[in-house]
Symmetry: C2
Subunit: 416 residues, 2 copies
């Protein structure tokens, strides 16, 4: 089926005008119906997912990717539960803040409103299709989804059910649309439709982010990689440091908030590293270190300049011994991706310095970077994790898919 | 003097790391010193401004533009007063919000931080140079300014004084830089420097905004034109409507929050329009109306399709008689620029409908659109008025030049 992306975007804009004024109750009902339809049609979703999996296996895609692509019964059930949770969240639209009376009697405040039409470009996991669509609907936005080509059949099955719920609720099906082809050209066309689309959210690696940034005339909220660091300070509780570092690297290495680079203060490197590296090695982690760390643990291989920039998403770790917190902060601000970075220290002043000077979306003292997540941060579901500074930074929930407008109540005021 | 814009941007980035951690007191001192130096060097600024004015007159630029370009003694004094006011405003950096404890004991909050490096592209008024630079400094950002070519000598004189204040305060002069040439190429190069510059703020007309949007790989906050509307409802107090409409069109027609299009409900058009148009005509306002309004007041000329999109910035007004609020809202959302729009009505439900459904940065009930302004809204000075939805919408003060980062305090928490 050919996409007419211009027509899709126009229809999405029209739909957005309706979604913007839906009652909280209506939005809740539609989302609950979506949860219900997904639960009831698990078998159909599984069938379509099987087609994607068959192709993926024929193409010999990596086991990690195939795992992410798979929709088991329990994962389908989780999608349904997630929709139900989003249904029951607080409505982020129509909230009024900073309302106050000016000296001339004007009553001025800011009201949350939807952004309008949101375009999301994402990768293999099909559950993103339902989560993203639901968060957009909750925040009164219409959405155009462009999922990974590997998940096309699964995404079509899910979108058909979401659109069925819209239809049964007398809402425009253009509220949630999926680009049902996998060609590059449609995406490139979409990026120029700033007349109809209000924001583009690309979730993915450097190539995708660069293509979108360079070609989009629509404002972009980047969801880029996580090159996350932990700095173990000279004043660290080394037992705590060991647990935090092990958790951040090993508990789930394939996600964006896992640690990729460990920075260790030279004063405690001799004591800390041998045990830490032993534990990593036993867990199957490959270490790529600088010369200083190699002097302490000779068997580790030497890191290249490129390694410091790399998001491995795997059991590989870059390791550097630093002279102090200044060098650690400089390294993080230079090589990091502004995602999540942590210090382990018992020093009050070093903790404060790190929190202030590390320029990342989430900066931690004495905790694993693995907590950067909408759920863990208390936002409910998340549409992703923004790595840019404009508009929203860090985990983004439904509230981050809103804008604000000033509303002004007068009694005939004119300007002098 | 040739610009090396890459070097300027690199230096600005370095400077931004220092500005980000300046104490509130230090920022206040520097801004007061700037105010002092500008006041003391009025004669020098006037001399350089005279050079700009001489060229402008030779080029036969419009009297309105020459007026905007002129720095009289009282305007220079106003620049100094504005710097003093910004100095004494509350520091927008380091504010912590939504701090709370999660079930696992993590203490999570959001802290305001500077955006980093801001590029501002603006037009003739030289006072913007000082205001924008001061607001960026207040919010811990470094700034690269690109003013209009007509004001180059004035802008250089002002920037030299601001940089002198930085120098005397032991701060990097790259905190505030001016592009000291007027070529197009330097701006085009700047728009690609997303490695160093965090946001671009273009203030100007359609051509500038389109060029920036299409060429920038840096996130953009658009400051586009104001095609502002007033809708006079069938339930309006017509005396109040007359005062508001007259104020919004005539009090200062050359600014972005002035009314450009008047929409009048057909039920009261016959009563309202003859008197209103008489008053406008006496004030020298040219009226371009639709056929319905021409039937009521035959002497007015017919508006073209283009007129409905036009920001006249002059004593010209588009006029349309509409069947009701639906048609008014549709017209505004279609032809407007999302700046400032007002309804005049005594109807509670019509007021609510207009506030909800008009998709603009500032939506008014029973007041002149002329109030859309950082000062009038209580933000202190403003860097401009954003007409986009992402990040900041409407008047932007120092607080809108910030981002937020999550700060997380743990006691050794790891993810299960």
């Amino acid at each position: 089926m050919k996409n007419n992306i211009v027509k899709m975007a126009q229809e999405a804009k029209k739909a957005s005008r309706i979604l913007a004024h839906l009652s909280s109750q209506k939005k809740e009902e539609v989302l609950l119906l979506m949860a219900h339809l997904i639960k009831e049609n698990g078998e159909k979703i599984r069938e379509e997912n099987e087609r994607d999996l068959k192709e993926a296996k024929e193409k010999k895609l990596s086991p990690a990717l195939i795992d992410r692509l798979t929709l088991s019964n329990s994962r389908i059930s989780k999608i349904s539960i997630s929709l139900r949770e989003i249904a029951q969240m607080e409505d982020p639209i129509g909230k009024i803040e900073k309302m106050g009376r000016r000296p001339n009697g004007l009553l001025i405040g800011k009201m949350t409103v939807p952004l309008g039409v949101i375009g999301i470009i994402y990768e293999a996991r099909p559950n993103v299709t339902a989560d993203a669509a639901a968060l957009c609907l909750k925040s009164g936005n219409s959405v155009i989804l462009r999922g990974g080509s590997e998940a096309l059949n699964s995404n079509i099955a899910l979108t058909d059910l979401l659109q069925e719920a819209l239809y049964q609720s007398d809402l425009p099906q253009a509220s949630i649309q999926l680009i049902r082809t996998t060609d590059h050209q449609t995406v490139m066309e979409m990026l120029k439709l700033n007349e109809y689309i209000d924001v583009i959210i690309p979730r993915g690696g450097e190539g995708l982010i660069r293509t979108v940034t360079e070609n989009s005339t629509i404002p972009v909220i980047k969801h880029y990689q996580g090159v996350c660091h932990i700095y173990v300070d000279s004043n660290a509780n080394l037992r705590m440091a060991e647990e935090i570092c092990f958790n951040a690297k090993v508990q789930r290495p394939g996600v964006c908030n896992a640690m990729e680079t460990l920075l260790v203060n030279e004063k405690i490197a001799g004591e800390f590293l041998p045990l830490m590296i032993k534990r990593f090695t036993e867990a199957g982690v490959e270490i790529r270190g600088d010369e200083m760390s190699q002097r302490i643990v000779p068997e580790i291989t030497l890191a290249s300049e490129e390694d410091w920039y790399t998001e491995y998403l795997d059991l590989i770790l870059s390791l550097k011994v630093v002279r102090g917190i200044e060098e650690a902060i400089e390294h993080i601000n230079h090589y990091g991706s502004g995602h999540s970075d942590a210090i382990v220290t018992e020093s009050y002043s070093q903790a404060g310095k790190f929190l202030n000077e590390v320029d990342s979306a989430a900066v931690y003292v004495n905790a694993s970077t693995r907590f950067t997540d909408g759920g863990e941060f208390g936002l409910g579901a998340e549409i992703g994790i923004s790595t840019q500074k404009l508009h929203a930074r860090g985990p983004m929930g439904a509230a981050e898919l809103t804008s604000r407008k000033f509303i002004i109540f007068g009694q005939g005021q004119t300007r002098k």
